[in-house]
């Protein structure tokens, strides 16, 4: 397992907002961890595939892997988890991440954010 990715997953799993009594973490399967920070929001982090090039200086200087973090929340502001997730991404992926997608599911009334990141292998 990639060290950098493992560290990112640990950081995401450890995300808590103060002393929230609803906080729980749920490990799922290999290459995928799920963290359920509260009853209104939950996140998924997954390593997806090897990228063609590391996102830096436009040259493939090392193996790079791409993954994503998804946050689903019933709250429009993401319940404050957006800032925490982005801080964790900055800590572990430096600047190789971006908010890739944001949507609202009308049927389930859930907001969805997706961040894509690249890490060195």
């Amino acid at each position: 397992m990639l060290t950098q990715y493992t560290a990112l997953v640990s950081a995401l799993k450890n995300l808590t907002q103060g002393e929230s009594p609803n906080t729980e973490t749920l490990p799922v399967a290999e290459y995928e961890w799920r963290t359920r920070p509260d009853t209104d929001s939950y996140g998924i982090v997954a390593l997806e595939f090897e990228a063609d090039a590391l996102n830096g200086d436009n040259r493939k200087t090392a193996r790079a892997f791409e993954g994503s973090v998804d946050l689903y929340s019933r709250r429009k502001d993401g319940g404050g988890w957006i800032e925490l997730i982005e801080a964790a991404l900055t800590d572990h992926c430096e600047s190789a991440w971006t908010l890739n997608y944001h949507s609202y599911e009308r049927e389930t009334q859930i907001f969805h954010w997706e961040w894509a990141f690249q890490i060195e292998g």
Partner: protein
Amino acid sequence: MAFRMDVTGMADLIHKLEQIGEKAQSAASLALYEGARVVADAVSREVQGIQTEPFKYAKGGRKRLPSPEEKEAIMGSAHGVSKFRKRIMKVDTSVGFNHAGYANVNFNHMNSKARTNYKEYAMKGHGSNSTSFLKATGKYERGLQNQKPIGAIAGAINSGTSFMKKQPFMRKAFSTSQGAAEAAIENKLREELDKLSLD
């Protein structure tokens, strides 16, 4: 992800492009098509690899996979390369789906730079900024495809939803074809310039 690539080491090509003047746009268009074709082929490959299961409602926190019918709807002719947009200094195009992930591929023939970037859901199907994707099939089949919310299905599979498992086929296709696409642009440009027999 801020995908961007510049092709470098093309100083000789810049000199040749300056010499051919108005013909540069035509050569750039042909070169760009080669790059867009590589990206479109990668999208086709990734669409083929989408996992499916018979339709079942997602319950109890379980996320469902797309049904074979949903995969069939987005396969083949349902995605493609948009019309080329020719501007003074560059030509550009997009590869992907309306309302879903797509890749922008452009080639600036004034400085010989090819650039690609990837966007999610930024393209709208209507309005002044809309781009209609050309389809390789006949008129009748196009009509049938247009009745299905192909962009929405592709978007749900590509980015996932609270009830559908995510399979980022567009992002993977683009991320793994960037290098090949830009090499194809450079090779085709050299070929076109050779045809013009310029020194």
